[in-house]
């Protein structure tokens, strides 16, 4: 540790060549100040470019989904049936796209009859159509808007809903499920693992037997049964995911606690009269925080995947709510004529999962005591 800090010390800013002895003394003073685990980890994390990039991307996603209500988005559930399956377009609004579609349809008709260009009747119809596109209004959210002036940067789905807002609101649902599910499982797992590890004996034996048995169960199948039987609501989804996912945390935390509970600081706390509860949650658990943080970040993407897996099968969140998984699931059905419905949510989700995994790996390398010496 100390050695490393000395190596990284910058040369004296005064520019004067200090004598070796003075430098050593300075270094010593620096080293005495010490670096906490978190500062140390942060320094290492900063060096890991992929992890930092992942963190930036994750932050961006978080900001966007948190600020979704104040962003100028169309409603994620408002349907304009006339705007079905509009292709993504950065420059044209819905009316222009519909006119193009109309012209294309006329051309196709005429081609079948061997007519070049458009007939007069069709031209006249088009004028009417353009006119309607430019003027038709509708009251949406108690506000009168020009219906066909709406722009869909990422296109629309089979019911004419804005894909951009569906993906953002879907991301909100996915990330929320990932976060809350992980927090619940980490909380449960830490509590059970810590108590089991600290108390030991028969309680530990019993709890670990339960964990072993639950480990052997094909839990994904049980989650599917839960969802199918209890009804497909978000609350049930949390419940089903949380009850099967605390096992690994419990095991890891238990191991950590067992290796720590004989150490001096625990003995000191105990001899000062701290209750077991206080020893566990004030002294032992904070010392396992590194492991817990790493586990949490690595767990979030797998939670999002689990939720997406269920939603993909139609057992997760229900319409009109969306999640990335349900959007991908809907996209698969329509992908041959309308590929953007599949690729947009798939890409958005994949980028998030990638970033989350890079961040998690980076954190593990930064916090993992064992790999410290390797770096």
């Amino acid at each position: 540790m100390a050695e490393k800090i000395i190596v990284e010390q910058k040369p004296d800013s005064t520019g004067k060549l200090s004598t070796g002895l003075a430098a050593d003394v300075g270094n010593l003073r620096e080293a005495q100040k010490g670096v906490s685990l978190w500062q140390d980890a942060w320094r290492r994390l900063k060096k890991n470019k992929m992890a930092m990039l992942g963190m930036v991307v994750v932050g961006l996603y978080a900001v966007i989904s948190l600020s979704a209500p104040i962003l100028p988005l169309h409603s994620y559930k408002y349907q304009v049936l006339e705007h079905q399956f509009l292709a993504p377009s950065l420059t044209k609004n819905a009316g222009e796209l519909l006119v193009e579609q109309e012209i294309g349809r006329y051309r196709q008709q005429n081609e079948a009859f061997g007519v070049e260009g458009l007939t007069e009747q069709q031209e006249a119809d088009l004028v009417d159509f353009r006119d309607r596109m430019a003027t038709e209004t509708k009251v949406i959210d108690s506000e009168e808007v020009l219906l066909h002036e709406r722009r869909y940067l990422l296109g629309t789905d089979n019911l004419g809903r804005d894909m951009l807002s569906r993906i953002i609101y879907g991301g909100q649902v996915s990330i929320m499920i990932g976060l809350i599910g992980t927090l619940v499982s980490v909380f449960l797992g830490t509590a059970i693992g810590a108590i089991s590890g600290y108390v030991g004996g028969r309680l530990d034996n019993f709890l670990m037997r339960v964990v072993d048995i639950l480990y052997g169960l094909p839990y994904m199948l049980l989650v599917i049964i839960f969802m199918a039987i209890l009804g497909r609501s978000i609350a049930n989804l949390f419940f089903a995911l949380a009850i099967v996912s605390w096992l690994t945390v419990a095991r890891v935390v238990r191991g950590q606690i067992m290796s720590l509970k004989e150490s001096e600081f625990v003995e000191a706390a105990r001899s000062a009269g701290a209750s077991p509860f206080r020893v566990i949650f004030r002294h032992l658990v904070p010392n396992t925080a590194g492991v817990i943080v790493v586990y949490t970040t690595l767990r979030i993407p797998s939670f999002i995947m689990l939720e997406a897996f269920l939603s993909f099968l139609g057992l997760g969140v229900q319409a009109p709510l969306a999640s990335w998984g349900s959007l991908v699931g809907d996209g698969v059905d329509a992908m041959i004529p309308y590929p953007w419905l599949l690729f947009e949510p798939a890409i958005v989700m994949t980028i998030f999962l990638f970033s989350m995994n890079f961040l998690g790996d980076g954190l593990r390398d930064a916090l993992d005591v064992q790999s410290k010496n390797k770096m």
Binding site: G216, P218, M220, L221, I224, I225, L313, G314, L342, T350
Partner: protein, 308 residues
């Protein structure tokens, strides 16, 4: 050794019974039944239906009867499909699921080990980067994204392979996309694990000794490195099989394969009690058996593990 195997085999039975019990009661305790979604049926008809399927017996008796029937390998009649019983549908779906599952795991093992070992031997080469990039994709991108994207590229755009279906109408090419999709995640993990462990073993003392004695590098890899690098891979096989099993449900859904996964999802939707139970029992039995085999193989490979 034999004693260990027998004990582990017997140990599977209680786990299986626990699984049956949990899923039985979860399904029965929940409100609504297989007949509650249909058109309004009169009370007498409902009573007759329930009597026919013994749903009017006390729950404990139903549970006991069911357990006894399962022990005789009879999974009962389906509540929704009237023509055949659950055994028939599982018999029809299971071989298909097993085929794609086995091909995917086998392929992932062979190619994953190959990619991992070559990556480790040629560290930081183009080859290393290429296979590790594929591995990162396999770990981060969920199956239900990989599958449709592969389908879009190779079946819809390039038209090299059929979009969806099964061997009976499309021939063997129907297997390619589902198997490749399903093999992605285990391939990724196997490649990364074996690369890491080969790198570690190459630095070990016994490899240096073997080299110092004049053994050629290919010989060292074949005789010493390969076996050692198998250990983490084998211990990963348990979770890999579980992942492949749930993955196959999605893959069957994407590629419209009439396998066990389709029956499982459909029965979960229409509350076909006996069908859900039947598929869960079969899935669990496969999973437990595979984990058991993995344990035994692990014991053969690693002499440090004792079976006492």
């Amino acid at each position: 050794m034999t004693k260990f195997i027998i004990r582990r085999l017997l140990g599977l039975i209680p786990t299986l019974i626990i699984i049956i019990t949990i899923s039985f009661f979860v399904i029965r305790v929940a409100p609504g039944g297989p007949f509650s979604d249909e058109r309004k049926i009169s009370a007498e008809v409902l009573a007759n239906l329930e009597a026919k399927y013994h749903l009017d017996d006390p729950l404990i008796k139903q549970y006991g009867d069911y357990l006894l029937n399962v022990l005789r390998f009879d999974l009962g009649p389906s509540f929704v499909y009237k023509d055949y019983d659950v055994n028939y549908y599982i018999g029809a779906g299971l071989p298909k699921s097993m085929l794609i599952g086995a091909l995917a795991v086998g392929g992932a093992l062979i190619f994953g080990l190959g990619a991992g070992i070559i990556s480790a031997l040629r560290q930081n080469s183009v080859y290393d980067y290429a296979s590790m990039s594929v591995a990162v994709i396999g770990i981060s991108v969920p199956l239900f994204v990989i599958g449709p994207v592969l389908m879009y590229i190779f079946a819809v755009k390039l038209d090299w392979l059929p979009v969806a279906g099964w061997i009976d109408t499309l021939g063997w090419s129907a297997l390619v996309l589902p198997v490749v999709t399903l093999a992605f995640p285990p391939f990724a993990y196997v490649a990364r694990l074996s690369r890491a462990s080969v790198l570690e073993i190459l630095r070990s003392d016994y490899v240096r000794t073997a080299r110092a004695k004049g053994l050629s590098m290919p010989m060292v890899v074949l005789k010493h490195v390969l076996k050692g690098s198998m250990l983490p891979v084998v211990s990963f096989l348990g979770p890999a099989l579980a992942g492949t099993l749930t993955g196959s449900i999605v893959v069957e859904q994407i590629f419209r394969i009439p396998g066990l996964g389709r029956y499982f999802v459909n029965s979960a939707f229409n509350r076909d009690y006996t069908m859900i139970m039947g598929t869960v029992i079969v899935y669990s039995a496969i999973l437990l058996l595979m984990n058991f085999i993995v344990d035994v193989i692990y014991g053969f490979l690693d002499p440090r593990i004792s079976y006492k």
